[in-house]
Symmetry: C2
Subunit: 375 residues, 2 copies
């Protein structure tokens, strides 16, 4: 932990020759040039961002880089999930080569998960890998996608099916930028914060139950919550960088969540990712209780907390019609590999006691969904 | 070295958790199913190949895989360098997802360098990496591109500028397939064989001077030459997998060679890659002699050997007009980074004593080319 900036936190991700720092705190966009130039040799940077973020922060970032002698170019892409495509990947790669970004120069992803995933992928393949800095601008990307090195694009076969593991050289999570998020976006990111408590940090979940108002208000508690989330994610990633086992725990709530996102056709007016995860986490706890793995009290406690902060927790909280359970099950089976009628699922023995189950019968999932969502 | 098959050789590439075997010998296409199924868990394989190679070997490979219980699909692409494009990369990725290739399933590159580079790149990014087997069908790809993990595609900015380091899980170099190569293709591949002697294996170069006729004739000497080449490349790759230093030695002859390929507009009727490398290696030795680094006798010895096997060794051996030295220098500068009028070049102190020089003045290169190629 750094003490020079009272409220700033530093989380180190010890991945050998791919180790890196995550800085979390206010004013980091203004100090980006200094933080990058002390860590990366190249004097060139290409900023990849989207239209919305560019309006707010691009100029300040360019000024900061140039003040520290880094020559900056930028590429502004359309906002939204559709930008994670082969077409835009080609465009980003071409722009990086046009800007003559070399192996010691830097690609900076300034934006949310879409920009981070796309720019991180491009940085991993241009010249077989150039330097890469994540500057996440949403709570969701600060606590989740900017850490851990997963990058990628979507195809007609599904989300994130093409990509590379490409750890960043540095993550700068400027907490000032969270001020411009809508309440709904902030809450959606908070679902991923709560997830780390539910995976294996029961004390953190207790802390969130007590301090969530301060986290939502901003200031030191918010920075603390983000830093604890990054630390939690870093621990899982260090234990299993390429997701051969334990890293799957990060998918708690995501199997149901992804199916709900697909069922609502990724229509953000009905459901955004973090909301799907919130409902998914409640369902995962209820499903675990139904399988006699956990007490129903835990499922209720999880639901109560997420509901208290204003997140949806039930299928009926989603506006509009949902497809029947068998269709949801098909969406789950498209997302996860099903072998012999069984699939991998993140289940739990209680708050902070999640585990990877490799043999969950699809039939049990369907029966459970029928109970939760009678037609 | 393996003894069960008298003439088969095994070269192990000790890259930690990315270690792999290279098998070199006759009949490997017919035994591919067995070699793959003992090393890779998945029961599915997708073969990527080109029209020419498919006609000769695709059926035999599919039979071999299916005989060992591996379910095989195939994708046949147009032959030629133009296939190394974003467009074909997208197509290969889509086909792999369509075939439901999972992380433990295998992508097999059956073909020369173009197929290996493209399929290896796709295998490295589909699901952030699936299993990958190289089955090189040209001498050039057996001794060079199939070993070492460089994959990639070309863009309008240059060759191989987009790609990943993706070590294969296995290389099967079936020497029977070399029978169908034209003399010219075989000789072009031989230039890269000779290169390993010139880099740091003077005894191997002596052996080639004595035994080249047997290498061209086929049989044990050919297998020996391929195995020694793979071993030499593996040593360089293990010392510097991601080319931060020593691996650049593999570019001996390639700086001049690439410029000549560009100058002849990649017209294979005038010059193919290995021929450019042959001329480039002679020029690199002559240039080193001119800089008083090596004896002119070494340059002459290199030229004599390459000429004896039938390779071009002089600029005047290339049919048609060549551009003036300044234009060749521009092509060199596009290929290599020039800093302050200086560039990185592989020079030599004599046969088997190559080294990486980081500060070669472009002006010296131009003067040298003017002498070699008076207008």
């Amino acid at each position: 932990m750094k003490s020079s900036e009272t409220s700033e936190r530093l989380v180190h991700v010890p991945l050998g020759d791919r180790a890196y720092d995550i800085l979390i705190g206010p004013g980091l966009i203004g100090r980006a040039g200094g933080e990058i130039s002390t860590r990366i040799k190249g004097r060139k940077a290409a900023i990849v961002t989207d239209e919305n973020v560019a309006n707010h922060y691009l100029e300040a970032l360019i000024d900061s880089l140039e003040a520290d002698g880094i020559d900056a170019t930028s590429l502004i892409l359309p906002a939204g999930e559709k930008t994670k495509s082969f077409e835009h990947l080609t465009r980003v790669c071409d722009a990086l080569l046009e800007a003559r970004i070399e192996r010691n120069d830097t690609v900076i992803a300034l934006g949310g998960g879409v920009i981070g995933d796309l720019a991180g992928f491009a940085a991993g393949i241009v010249r077989r890998g150039v330097r890469f800095v994540q500057m996440p601008t949403s709570l969701l990307s600060q606590v989740d996608s900017s850490v851990g090195g997963k990058t990628g694009i979507n195809t007609r076969h599904g989300k994130n099916l093409i990509g590379v593991f490409n750890q960043p050289d540095l993550v700068l999570a400027d907490t000032d930028v969270l001020q411009t998020l809508s309440d709904r976006e902030f809450r959606a990111g908070y679902a991923e914060v709560a997830k780390y408590g539910l995976i294996d940090k029961p004390d953190f979940f207790v802390w969130l139950e007590r301090n969530w108002r301060d986290v939502f208000a901003g200031g030191a508690a918010r920075i603390e919550a983000i830093a604890t989330s990054c630390q939690a994610k870093a621990e899982v990633v260090v234990a299993d960088e390429r997701e051969t086992g334990r890293r799957a725990l990060l998918n708690l709530g995501h199997t149901f969540g992804h199916a709900l996102e697909a069922a609502t056709e990724y229509d953000s007016s009905r459901l955004v990712h973090g909301e799907g995860v919130a409902i998914g986490m409640v369902l995962a706890h209820q499903f675990s209780a139904r399988l006699n793995l956990a007490s129903p009290d835990d499922a209720e406690r999880v639901e109560t907390h997420l509901k208290t902060v204003g997140l949806p927790t039930r299928l009926s909280d989603i506006p509009g019609e949902l497809p029947p359970p068998e269709v949801l099950m098909r969406a789950i089976a498209q997302d996860k590999k099903v072998t012999g009628g069984k699939l991998t699922f993140i289940l739990t023995r209680g708050v902070g006691q999640s585990f990877v189950a490799n043999d969950v019968p699809c039939s049990e999932v369907v029966t459970f969904l029928e109970e939760k969502h009678p037609q």
